[in-house]
Symmetry: C2
Subunit: 341 residues, 2 copies
């Protein structure tokens, strides 16, 4: 169905239909062959760290290495500042909805909630647990994803100091995933490698920090992320600036008082973050700028007007914004005889 | 001296002097350690293919791979169309000056001249040989570069079908490099791997093509290049369009009726081409856009005005061009109370 929609779009845009090809394969062999093919010039991938990193390595081992834009997962840390915990009455519902959205199968799912233990924390914890516990096990995309969710969740639960806040619910089919909310203190979180890995599904881990120093240490221990979120009062942003700066250095999109789930196809979207969230943090895989993954600049020096692509012709019939002698303009370039140049 | 100039520039720009550090080492160990250091986030390099590729591989083998922008050499093919050979009286002098400039030590040195054998070719060959032969051996940057030049030149001269057009001249010091002009036919060139490698120094190889088909085959056999040049009459560009398209697909800068040597620090400069000219053809290592090698985008979503960087504040006090709701503008953004959002 998706392939059909893309082909219809190509027809509508009067583009050659063959620029899109669909290959369906249950093994990883087809993908590997495509990445190794000499005519392949770039690769985009969404999936697991293991899958993306394998294709990245394969592409770099080619005689002619090619760029790989792999989006490989993220735990999307959400920092809950004291003001939000104390004053934001809808916060538990907001967070729970985001954790549970699409049975947690969003690459921007908030898998980590970092909280400083202050006034209202116990009440927040209780309300959030109730919200998450209310949700019935959901049907996931396929049995493989559901099995992976259960095994990653079980691994996380075995880690030192991890408490399950929601009761276990029966998963009656092999595609079902039951939500889970867990709690750990900052020191145990920092010491654990497993807890920094994504549990893809309706799961989130609360990290309890004693103070701002621990909050900073927790953020500092994180790898690259697609998103970083802060819930709080605007006046708290200066007070916690050093924590937010650390978050900024580790993510591609920084959100204030909103959930990370959901991406918008706009110019401002940045969907890609420092490794291992993606293999190339300078590009986005969602939004209009995503096309820059697949183009490279070519400078034309002293070519006659008639041989230039329309984007570079003096009259600017496409009415695009161009930098002409250092000035951005949509104006036509004053013509002169290039053949004499 | 260069380090001193950079430090003076940093002081003038009121930037922290320590953002620039100079490390001098005669082995490759220092460079390797810098590339492997966990705090290193990107690498730029200019030098040999072996050196650049080694750093690229090292950076990709890190636990957190980092981008490497290596500019690794190019033979900068120059296509001489029949009209230029026949009508352009100053062509031999123009080409010879570019080949000999700075004792050939430019990464954009025209190391390959591709010519279709038509009217005026013999005369062009004679004049160019005389021009190159007139030049005395020049002093190269250091003895290592001079030794490398002599060994690469000797390797090229041993290849099947290669004729030396200029007489050998004595190189009296270990830093001297004597110019050399050589000739080969298209078929021998296409069959050779050695002839497609850079001979860094005052050297150029003329490839004689019988017709346009051979011209296309020669260009098609080339790897990625920093530049591709065409000398000809404007009206020849349509006739040879398929050859020029092949050249376009293999270079970062396409030049008409000018020499490739010399790069300008402008917005329009593209100094970087498909592999192996550089490891990342999407970026330039010269020009104002070169800074994009060292930045990554971060999206701010719903942050209060006072916490945004100046580039994103509503009043646009930096007067930069910004895309606001799909429109490029320098106008201030109409303010509204973000705290209520």
């Amino acid at each position: 169905m998706v392939a059909g929609a893309i082909r219809a779009a190509l027809r509508q845009c009067v583009l050659a239909e063959d620029i899109f090809q669909e290959v369906t394969d249950t093994s990883i062999a087809a993908g590997q062959q495509l990445v190794k093919h000499p005519l392949t010039k770039a690769v985009a991938f969404t999936g697991s760290f293991a899958g993306g990193k394998a294709l990245f390595d394969l592409a770099n081992q080619r005689e002619e290495p090619i760029p790989v834009f792999a989006e490989m997962g993220s735990i999307n840390p959400v920092v809950l500042l004291p003001g939000a915990i104390r004053d934001n009455k809808t916060l538990p519902t907001t967070i729970a909805s985001s954790v549970l959205l699409g049975v947690g199968q969003f690459c921007t799912n908030p898998g980590l909630l970092i909280v400083v233990d202050t006034e209202g924390f116990a009440s927040f914890l209780h309300k959030l647990s109730v919200e998450v516990a209310q949700a019935a096990p959901g049907t996931m995309l396929h049995a493989g994803i559901a099995a992976n969710y259960k095994s990653k969740r079980a691994e996380a639960l075995k880690e030192k100091g991890v408490l399950r806040l929601t009761e276990e619910k029966a998963e009656t089919t092999d595609r079902q995933g039951a939500p889970a909310l867990t709690l750990v203190n900052a020191r145990d979180f920092i010491a654990s490698t497993v807890l920094k890995e994504e549990v893809f599904g309706p799961y989130s881990l609360i990290v309890k920090c004693e103070d701002e120093t621990e909050l900073r240490q927790v953020i500092e221990s994180l790898k690259g992320q697609l998103t970083g979120t802060v819930f709080g009062l605007p006046e708290e942003l200066s007070e916690y600036k050093s924590s937010i700066d650390l978050l900024h250095a580790r993510c591609g999109r920084l959100i204030f008082n909103g959930v990370p789930t959901g991406v918008e196809v706009t110019k401002a979207m940045q969907h890609g973050g420092p490794f291992p969230a993606s293999t190339d943090s300078r590009f986005t895989s969602v939004g209009t700028d995503a096309i820059y993954r697949f183009v490279r600049p070519v400078a034309y020096q002293d070519f006659p007007e008639q041989f230039l692509p329309p984007q570079l012709k003096n009259n600017n019939e496409l009415n695009i914004l161009r930098c002409v002698n250092g000035t951005w303009t949509r104006n036509a370039v004053e013509t002169f005889n290039l053949q004499q140049a």
